[in-house]
Point group: C2
Chain length 340, copies 2
C-alpha cells in the first residue's frame, strides 16, 4: 500500500477534536504533506491549515483525500459518501482509516472505477505477504516496545526519525498501525494482517537496506498483554531488531482493556532480549521513553533520573525532553560502518 502524497485532509463534520485524532497526528508529523483541509458545516475540528474546495485541492497538487476521522458507529454517513464521490471525480485517490471498506459502498466503488483512482483502506490490507523467514537482512532496525498498549510507541519512533534526520542520519519511520501508515504513506496496519503472516508482513514493511540505514519500526501492544502479545512477538521476530526502546506510562495501574497488572520495565527489557534473540542475537535496549504527561516537571525529571540510574539506559519523555540521549546511545552502540 503506497498512498500518493500530498494530502487533502477530510474532517467531515466531526463533533470534537478527539474524533479527528488520526488527522491531527498526520498534520503534526507530516505538515509538508497536508496541503489543506475539507470541513463540512458543523465540523468541530481544525488542523489550522487552509480550507480548500476539492477543485482548489486538485489545483494545488493534492493526490489523495485522507479520511482521518472516526464517526460514531464506524459507518460512512451519506453526506460523507457524496463528498468522497466528488473527490474521486475531482481526480483524487481516497485513503480511509474507517472500519468500513470504501469499496464496499457501490457509489464509491463505481466512482473510483470511473475515474481510475485508488481506494486505500488502511485498516485492511489487500497486500499478499509471505510467511516470515527469519533470514537476516542488511540495514539496522530499531523497534519501540511497551509495557502496555498506547504508551507512546509511535510517537517515540517518529521523534527518533526527526532527531536522527536532523543529525543527517539515514533513518525512516516504518508504520505498523493505521495512523502511522498515513504518516509514512506506506506500511500496513499489522493488527489487520492474517495471523500466519505477521512476521512476514514486518519483513515486507522493513526490507533489506544499506548497512548504515536505520528503520525505526513502530511497535504494537506488549509481550505481556494477554490480548495482543502474539502480535507483539510476530512483530519483534519480523523486525529482527538490533535495538529497542521501552515505552512506558507510569500512571497505569492495569493493562489497557484487561485486568492484568503492568509488567516492570525490567521485565519488558529481559523478555524482549530473550525472545528477540531468535531472529537477532545482538538485540539490545538503547533507551526508555516515558509518557510523563500526568507528572509535574520536577517529578518527571526525578523519575527519569531514577530510571536512567536503575537501568543504565537513557530515560526521557520524548515530548518534554526530546530523544537526543537515546540517539547518542544508539550511535554509541552501533557506530556507522560497524554493520556486518
Amino acid at each position: 500500500m503506497q498512498i500518493e502524497t500530498p494530502y487533502l485532509m477530510f474532517l467531515g463534520d466531526v463533533p470534537d477534536t478527539l474524533a479527528a485524532k488520526t488527522a491531527y497526528g498526520i498534520a503534526d508529523w507530516r505538515p509538508e504533506w497536508c496541503v489543506g483541509q475539507l470541513r463540512l458545516p458543523g465540523c468541530a475540528a481544525d488542523l489550522g491549515i487552509p480550507d480548500l474546495t476539492l477543485e482548489e485541492a486538485a489545483a494545488k497538487g493534492c493526490r489523495t483525500m485522507v479520511i482521518g476521522v472516526a464517526n460514531a458507529g464506524g459507518v460512512l454517513p451519506p453526506h460523507w459518501v457524496s463528498e468522497v464521490v466528488a473527490a474521486l471525480d475531482a481526480g483524487l485517490d481516497i485513503a480511509s482509516g474507517l472500519h468500513v471498506r470504501l469499496g464496499s459502498l457501490p457509489e464509491i466503488a463505481e466512482a473510483a472505477e470511473r475515474n481510475g483512482r485508488q481506494l486505500h483502506d488502511v485498516r485492511h490490507t489487500t497486500e499478499t505477504f509471505d510467511t516470515g523467514k527469519g533470514t537476516r537482512r542488511s540495514g539496522r532496525r530499531l523497534l519501540s516496545v511497551g509495557t502496555d498498549c498506547s504508551v507512546g510507541k509511535k510517537y517515540t519512533v517518529l521523534a527518533l526519525e526527526r532527531g536522527m534526520r536532523e543529525r543527517g542520519l539515514d533513518a525512516d519511520f516504518r508504520a505498523t498501525g493505521q495512523t502511522g501508515v498515513f504518516i509514512s504513506g506506506r506500511g500496513v496496519a499489522i493488527d489487520a494482517v492474517v495471523a500466519d503472516f505477521i512476521s512476514g508482513a514486518v519483513e515486507w514493511i522493513s526490507p533489506a537496506a544499506d548497512p548504515d540505514h536505520w528503520d525505526l519500526i513502530e511497535g504494537q501492544g506488549s509481550l505481556y498483554h494477554p490480548s495482543f502479545a502474539g502480535v507483539s512477538l510476530g512483530l519483534l521476530h519480523g523486525a529482527q531488531a538490533d535495538a529497542f526502546v521501552v515505552c512506558h506510562e507510569p500512571s497505569r495501574t492495569a493493562m489497557r482493556g484487561v485486568k492484568h497488572p503492568l509488567p516492570s520495565i525490567q521485565q519488558v527489557i529481559d523478555l524482549t532480549i530473550q525472545l528477540g534473540s531468535l531472529t537477532n542475537p545482538g538485540i539490545c535496549p538503547v533507551g526508555i521513553a516515558v509518557n510523563t504527561q500526568k507528572l509535574e516537571q520536577d517529578e518527571a525529571r526525578t523519575l527519569l533520573q531514577d530510571l536512567t540510574k536503575e537501568h543504565g539506559l537513557p530515560a526521557t519523555d520524548p515530548v518534554r525532553f526530546g530523544v537526543d540521549g537515546i540517539i547518542d546511545r544508539l550511535l554509541a552502540e552501533f557506530p556507522a560502518g560497524s554493520a556486518a
Copy 2:
C-alpha cells in the same frame, strides 16, 4: 462455524493419496461421520468407505460434502465446480479446505442461495471475535505445543481425546487448524484469523465449561519458530492452558521452512511455562509426545526412556505406544474435583 454431520467425502480426481491427506485424517478420527466417498474417474485416493452418488449420500442422511483434498494451484477445476453445484442441488452443505472461497465462484454461490445451503470455507472465517481478555474461565484445558510445526500436535490431542473418553472422562478435542475443524465439526483455522484476535478466537474455541471438563486444544507452530511464534503465543495465552504436552520429531535438523535450529524439549517446556503463566500461573507439562516413525522399535523405546528420565515426564509415541502414561500423569496432577 458449525459443520453439520455426517459427511460425504469428496475426493475428486486427485493424483495421489497425499493430496487427500485431510480427508484421510477425517476418516481416521471420525469414521462414524464418514458415510461414504465421492470419487471422479482417475481418482488415486480411496478412504475404504462406500462409493456413493449424491442421491445415495442424501438418502443415507449425509448433511455436508467435505472437500478434504488439495489440488495443484489451489483453484477449483471446472469439473469439481459442477459436482459442488450438484451436491448443493442434492441438499448438501459444502465444507472446503481449499484456499479459494467457495462463495467467490458465482455458480456455487448461486446454487447455495437457491437451495438455502451453507458454504463453509475452513481456511477462512466469517466469525467475528472479540480480542482476548485473559480472564480465567472454568473448566480444564490442555494444549499441545511443539519444538516445530508438523510434529504431531493434532494427533496427540486427538489420541488423548480418544483415550480419556475410553476412561469415561469428559474431554473434547478443540480444533485450531483446518483438518481439525473438519474432525471436530467446529472451530477455526487460527492461522486465518486476523492478528488482533488470535487469543480472542481461542477463548471462543474453548469457552467456559464444567470444572472437571477437559478441552484438548490443538496447538500450532512453535514459540521458537520465526514465522509463526506470534500465532503460538496468542494460542497459548488464549488457551489459558492448565497442562501441556510437548510434541517433537527427533529427526529434524532445522525448523520447517526456515534455517533456524530446533529448540530442545527443555527450552520449549521452560518458555511455555514462562509465557503461559501470564494467563494461567499454574500451567505445567504432563508429557512428551515423540514422532518416532523414522526409528526402529528398540531405538524408539530407548529414546523415550531417556526422555522420561531426563525430564521426569511420561514420554511416548502416541501412534506406537499410546497415551496412557500422559493421561495418568494428567489425572495425578489435576484430580477430578480439584478445580477451583
